[in-house]
Amino acid sequence: MHKIQRTVTVVSNSKVCPQYYRLSLDAGSAVNEARPGQFIHIRVTDGVEPFFRRPFSVFRAAKTMDILYDVVGKGTEILSSRKRGDRLDVLGPLGTPFCEPAPAVRQVVMIAGGIGVAPFLIFSDFLKKKRVEKILLYGARAQAQVFDFKAFRKNGVEVFASTEDGSVGVKGRVTRLFGKIRQDPQTTMLYACGPKPMLAAVQDFAKGHRLPGQVSCEEVMACGLGACLGCSIPTVSGYKTVCHDGPVFDVHEPCF
């Protein structure tokens, strides 16, 4: 039987750069179940403040289940105070993962905005053995969001960065790096995760160049299991839940 709810132990929880934390969890067999693009739904407190669980993309699932997160509110603030040995109630891994690139694909393009980089380390782990060009276009606000990309490079990923303040890489948004994308619908595949305006830009680019791709979306979630229909977004085929139908959608599907 597929077990969805577990109590897991914190192995480590520390900063990887001034803005982002990496949380590693001893999550037992859940580690083997995780697919790139899926998320885990964490109850950050035993109490009711904050009330909802918080969804996080799986960053890596090797020995431990890892997430990458930014402290943006009450939930992530509590999470950042969790120490080695603490126990957390976790659902998942949940949601629809990224699809594998088709056999004809020669260039896999991962486009990440800020913390939207999270699903791409596990994705590059899965793509490690594929003999295709892999590039990560990472757009950040500033250096505080830039961490060591060694693990990506070890998986054969070439990393290009942009920052809005120009402190690292090209100055400007991640769209400034789109020149690295080979515009061949047969052999290029886009994968994107980041804020809505960035995903909209990726969708426009994919439309303009008829490129295939997938985007990973984010919404406030309650159940995380497709039950409450609270995280629905408009798509070309009606409302779909981010937690269950997504978070990964075809790039042409969501109406941003």
């Binding site: 039987m1 597929h2 969805i4 709810q5 109850r43 009711v48 403040e49 904050p50 009330f51 909802f52 669980r53 109630d89 659902l91 919404e219 406030v220 309650a222 159940c223 995380g224 299991l225 497709g226 039950a227 409450c228 229909l229 609270g230 995280c231 629905s232 977004i233 408009p234 009606g238 409302y239 269950h244």
Partner: protein, 302 residues
């Protein structure tokens, strides 16, 4: 230990169920073996025709609870019968189907279709969804409640439960109206109407502007309403409103509820219904109570 509950002609193995809209159509939950231990299943409300639901954002977190304005997104009763019902029937747990019509005629049509479908233990008439931009809810009008319950009751082959709204002056008046019209049970409470504003954008947080408040924040309100209603009616009361733990559920049972439903609590803890059931059993064992009836309405007043 006897935990069985009767509502009309329907018998439920124990007093713990899940509130409509919080447990599916989610296949993921139904995979769980634990689900088979529940006293009843109540899937998300179905309407006569498909409904696409409200524009997002549909939910927001609040202090000890949440606001929602989903708008009864559902595939319509025909698709429900064809696609969802067969799977639900396979689960060996009595099924209460929550239904909503936008007119008496629609309620009757849905009832006829479900009569033909079979395999259902009871109907719950959702008279109280606050998120459909209707001026008045059926459950805000004793006359409308009475008329509708009477008509559905006349044709339904299943026991009929009326789900009531807390957004009224006196919920006991509506509960009595439902009872006198022939309802086999009443369930309460649905969500309390509320709203949130984003001060940065000066816009409502929810796409629907207003929504329904649920979760532990509303439990004391729900408990009082169940207590008041249970005193006035002889038919079973199904209680919901902020139940997260066995202690919450026991409070409702002591206040007079025959059954209890975990709703929003499922989102935070999918195991909550089972925890509630086990906790009720543990309480009964500890206090040497061998029939749940002995607990029902056992509140001791000062």
């Amino acid at each position: 230990m006897n935990l069985t509950v009767k509502i009309g002609s329907a018998v439920f193995p124990n007093p713990v169920t899940v509130a409509s809209g919080t447990f599916g159509h989610a296949k993921k939950y139904y995979d769980l073996q634990e689900v088979q231990q529940l006293g009843a299943l109540i899937p998300k409300t179905v309407t006569l025709l498909p409904q696409e639901g409200n524009p997002p954002p549909r939910i927001a977190e609040t202090a000890a609870g949440m606001l929602n304005a989903i708008g009864i997104e559902n595939p319509g009763v025909d698709v429900f019968i064809e696609k969802d019902l067969p799977a639900l029937k396979k689960i060996p747990v009595p099924l209460i189907v929550s239904v909503l019509g936008h007119s008496e005629e629609q309620f009757l049509k849905i009832t006829e279709k479900l009569n033909a479908a079979g395999g259902i233990s009871a109907l719950e008439l959702n008279l109280s969804c606050p998120n459909l931009q209707k001026k008045n809810l059926v459950a805000q009008d004793a006359g409308a409640t009475s008329s509708l319950v009477q008509k559905v009751k006349k044709i339904s082959r299943y026991p009929v439960i009326a789900k009531l709204s807390p957004n009224v002056t006196d919920i006991t008046v509506i509960a009595v109206a439902a009872q006198d019209a022939g309802a086999d049970g009443v369930s309460l409470i649905n969500t309390l109407t509320g709203m949130l504003i984003n001060t940065r954008t000066r816009r409502p947080v929810l796409g629907n502007v207003t929504g329904g408040l649920s979760g532990p924040a509303i439990k004391p309100v729900a408990l009082n309403m169940v207590y008041q209603a249970a005193k006035k009616v002889k038919i079973p009361v199904i209680a919901m409103g902020g139940i997260m733990t066995a202690d919450d559920a026991l409070q409702f049972i002591m206040a007079g509820a025959s059954m209890t439903a975990v709703g929003t609590g499922n989102f935070v803890n999918p195991r909550a219904p089972l925890d509630v059931l086990q906790g009720i059993k543990a309480y009964m064992k500890k206090h040497k109570i061998n029939d749940i009836v002995q607990l029902r309405g056992s509140l001791i007043l000062p």
